[in-house]
Symmetry: D2
Subunit: 389 residues, 4 copies
């Protein structure tokens, strides 16, 4: 690989740039996870996480990738053959469906495209028609990392309520938590799924379930086999500040530091920052004359921006040029959108000038790769950034 | 907590002391796990792991604790209701049994005490009596972390062979890998389970399955539900140097460095070092007039030493005194041995003087806590260390 | 201070951004500077430094700031009352003059402005007129960090030669070494002064003298008092890989890593990178309609760009706005240029997108601070960067 | 070099083991030393240092080794030809004398051996005889790092007072500060010299002068040439929280953390800890049947213990054996004591078990190297440690 001077720009939609303070916190001798020092750490983290998920209930930490937290949500809340409703609209939703299939659930998909979020009206209609309440759970992805589309979770909640349906609401916030306003308790979400490597600014390796009282109740009778992912064993051990098996102690050090960073900035300011950077990025994309992937104005992601390529141009070739020439990593189109779009992550530990460097890299890359565009995106973004914030 | 000057002595039997080089390797910006740089890292690690497990076959890395690797072994190799044979002799074996129960397997336990390893003769007898070959798998723990007893895996292998039984052989090497000689291929083990935080000298957060061709074959028809732990998806992605879901990149950096350290020292020297430190520790224990937990000379662990308390003395009180006064963490007795024994870890990143400091802490602690002993253990250990190695 | 998310842009002309690899190398246990491991480190560094200074002679390392290396150059080469010729043109030159005065030297200044480098013709004339050879040394600053002006050292050398004058040539390369082509031996420089925190990409705390045979000879009879800075004691100890007093071991670890980084990139590529970034920056400045401080085309610095403010606008207010709003540190005007100019550092561990972020910060800052300009600088820079390199 | 597993034991009398917290603090991006964030750091450190030196006056920080702080003391306080009184008793005192000679001072030495500290009675006698007050300064080393002898500075102060002599009192506390009780103000010391790499637990690269009002007054007329070391320029810049030239910012981060550690432990407890470890070490030495270098009971160092070899045995060979076999670095005999003694550092970031490991290494090394001794030292030390503290 060619030598690259200076800092790499890691602007995929996660893993995100890990702050030095977090890396340095991880870089500390491991302690005895059964000793008296450990519960001090654990309790501070468990309390801090509640503030981030905006819940008074428990948050469970798994030493696992985000995918593991999905599996935990399903295996704790459901039984073999249970029906679960999902929106087939995007890549990670599809992965979730595949997992549910493998675990022996009966997955029902509301068909759709990859340019819209889950549709509250469709969900309401489907649930209303389920008069027998055979559907046990409704699963949505808050922010689709693969398409840059955000589902309006509070409206999904309202739709379920209007349908007077008892389905559990499971929400994947892997790329929205600590980026976009999210309220586990207010929106009466039953299981919130999250991971460490996006808005929480950690390396990958931790994932989370925030769990409602209803979900805990459901877990008592749910019969999918589970052991590693079992909530009950976790909650019982957490009560005294411990874990039922060896926790990923050093990543927990990092988590403590990341929670401190979020509190120092203030969660509302974190959300405002993500919104402002997302808007600047969208203005850049429009000024380039390129198309944003989301079709509904209300569903633009504030974590990342998915940009569609003009017909006949390959997004992956553009990304390769940009990586080679400007040492900037962008996200690829996934699944059926491979080559059709690229994704700019603007989440996590980020600021105006990192965004300007990123957009400069994209704009210069479009030129280097010969992709038709107007070279006006960076100017549109700086114009917006200079006049706001 | 009281202020402690100097370095903590983390001599539980894992997590172990993480070398500075490994910590510093982890303390590095996360890279794009889908970019071109990643497979270089992945391939180097996957190749290095094979040398540690002494296998030509695949080793699978999970972003999970060691417990997860157990679950992976069971869910990939077995189907609901499958019969699995285990030795009920120790704490971690019990945990494994509990997991198997929860996953819907039919566990058969060879009863025993907690002071012996799995008995090859008993295993042979039981398998020989299973003329229908209803037992699908035999699971043993190579080194019982909770009791300091090592099972002679090569003899278990020979026992299975003599019984001409097709049971899969699953071996937990969580606290023996890279400490005690272990040979996945030579001993025809089907699944080897391991974790990062012991002999591999990493923080917790990664775990492993080394998998035989027979086990892979078995996985094709095994019907326990699995998704996160699925070998097939892993192996397929690993072929091109990638992972099916986000890997714990920073821990992988640490793993690369740890593998380098092991190769620099040389695996045979690593084993000899562990053996020598274990022998020095046993001499100290005997000189103190205390009792070693293992009853069979052939089954002493080289990773840790479990020391039994005189009747009427509480191991946990001793451990508390030692932690408070000498900033030394020792392992507790687990399960039914709680309070009856303490465990000295001498595995991983370790040397003669760290051992001397550790044994000095125990000896002074015995005195401080008023536990009857002869203060001759440290001298016995230094005598041995000075005359060997 | 307000919370700033993301990475700070440290674009003063030094200290520069320290690469993570260098920081992590420093973050390692200190070793015995009198033990057998130390000379391996020292020799590798001393050899590597010679390649950077382009000399076959010795390079001396002081545990000190760059200012200390100036003092070392003067005290080793000169005697009380010795006449030394300098160009009064810039701030750091002035500091050097003040130091020489304090040390009891007789300093003669060639007067001038702060927008030109040292003038080879003037130097030649003055030396030619010194028929008694009363001038013992000629001191120039290769790259004036305070003004962004580069002196053509090879032409100064030629001027001295034409004047057939035996003056020692002392050159300060604090902000040019490892940024701009520099040749200690080819240009027959007698003492080259350098520091760690600019092109060498280290934190401050180390400084250097590269020393010619003539300078060593002069030191034998030079009578300025010296002890800490004494070359002879250093060279004698260095022969066996040691130092006469405790070296700054951890910074030496960092130096080893920084030298590796420079070799991986290749020194010629390092120079080309600095030249390209400097040209892009100058294009931005001109496009903004602002004035560059250097007046001679041949004397533009490749390490930093000094930008003059329009009359009536305060550079320090602009810098404060930029720091507050965009978390970008720029250099201030020093001495009599305070408030009249600001300086953009583009040296050390740096790349295209870091430069784009930096220039975006300046351009948005000019707007925020109400400084008259055309918002076309960033575009001019990206235009140049995209079409080159 | 042979591979060594585990942590190196760095038990030279400095540099000492740097705590992880300090290393990690250093491992942080460098900031603008002229920006608004810097004075916050500087003021916190300058205030903290005053508490360590126990002075209400200024403490000056040099980016330099301890040797530089000596030079600073001499050049600021004295003029060429000034007479300075010193005790020729030990190696570092000799170095100091050599430096004073080189700087053009007139050094008068009170002759003596290397096994006693400076003698207050002799000092009183000599000063009393100097009726003309030609002696400008009296210089002593609080703790002689090369011999393990501590001078009773408060008694030296009383001796000067009794002689009614106006000599400035200069004290080197390089290996005693933050190890042994020291009081700059109470003992009316005029200049205290210190370094970063011993009791302050930092890597080498910073050094210090605590300065009395009398010393500052003397500096106004002192005529030794000085620039880098000039107190006045430092104090003036420090007033606003800045430095006259680039400070070693990253080491200052480490200093802040080290000061925090000392305050967390409490300075009196730090002294008690050093005293207890020193006593344990002396008991070990006596039990081995070896001889301590200091001959006066009141002058044993609490920072290090200098141990004399039996006749005919080479200390450096012993040290080489111990380093090779047990990865333990000990200090060598310096100057005329080379080969005659070795030194055990027990200062800085240290605790009981690190000391036990160290003494075990020495005891086993004595055996390996065939040095006559009774193998009872480690037991004597643990006996003492267990019964105290």
């Amino acid at each position: 690989m060619a030598f690259h001077s200076g800092r790499h720009f890691l602007q995929i939609p996660g893993p995100t740039n890990v702050p030095d303070r977090v890396l340095r916190a991880i870089d500390r001798p491991t302690i005895d996870h059964r000793g008296p020092e450990f519960p001090v750490l654990a309790r501070e983290i468990l309390a801090g996480l509640r503030r981030i998920f905006r819940t008074a209930g428990p948050v469970i930490i798994f030493p696992a990738s985000g995918t593991g937290a999905w599996e935990a949500a399903l295996t704790n809340a459901l039984s073999p053959g249970d029906r679960i409703l999902m929106s087939e609209k995007r890549n990670f939703s599809s992965l979730w469906k595949a997992m549910a299939d493998r675990l022996g659930l009966s997955v029902e998909v509301i068909p759709g495209d990859w340019r819209h979020g889950a549709d509250p009206a469709e969900i309401e209609a489907r649930l209303a028609s389920d008069s027998q309440h055979q559907i046990r759970a409704m699963a949505v992805v808050h922010n689709e990392t693969s398409t840059g589309v955000t589902t309006r979770v509070s409206e999904v909640r309202a739709a379920i309520d209007r349908a007077r349906h008892p389905a559990l609401l499971l929400v994947d916030t892997i790329s929205s938590l600590a980026c976009v306003d999210y309220r586990h308790d207010d929106w009466r979400v039953d299981v919130t799924i999250a991971g460490s490597q996006k808005g929480l600014m950690l390396p990958p390796g931790l994932s989370f379930n925030a769990v409602s009282a209803r979900a805990l109740e459901a877990a008592k009778t749910a019969r999918l086999a589970r052991s590693y992912w079992d909530w009950q064993a976790m909650l019982q051990a957490n009560e005294s500040g411990y874990f039922p098996y060896t926790p990923a102690t050093n990543l927990l050090y990092g988590l403590r530091e990341a929670l401190l960073l979020l509190e120092e900035e203030g969660l509302d300011k974190v959300f405002a920052r993500h919104a402002r950077h997302a808007e600047a990025t969208r203005r850049a994309v429009r000024a380039w004359g390129l198309e944003l992937n989301p079709l509904d104005q209300r569903e633009h992601s504030n974590s990342l921006t998915a940009v569609r390529m003009p017909d006949g141009y390959d997004a992956d070739r553009l990304r390769a040029v940009i990586l080679e020439r400007f040492d900037l990593s962008l996200g690829q189109g996934l699944g059926k959108q491979k080559g059709q779009l690229f994704r700019i992550g603007h989440l996590g530990h980020f600021n105006d000038l990192m965004l300007c460097g990123t957009l400069a890299g994209v704009e210069m890359g479009l030129r280097s790769a010969g992709v038709p565009h107007r070279p006006a995106g960076l100017a549109a973004a700086t114009d917006y950034l200079a006049s706001t914030g």
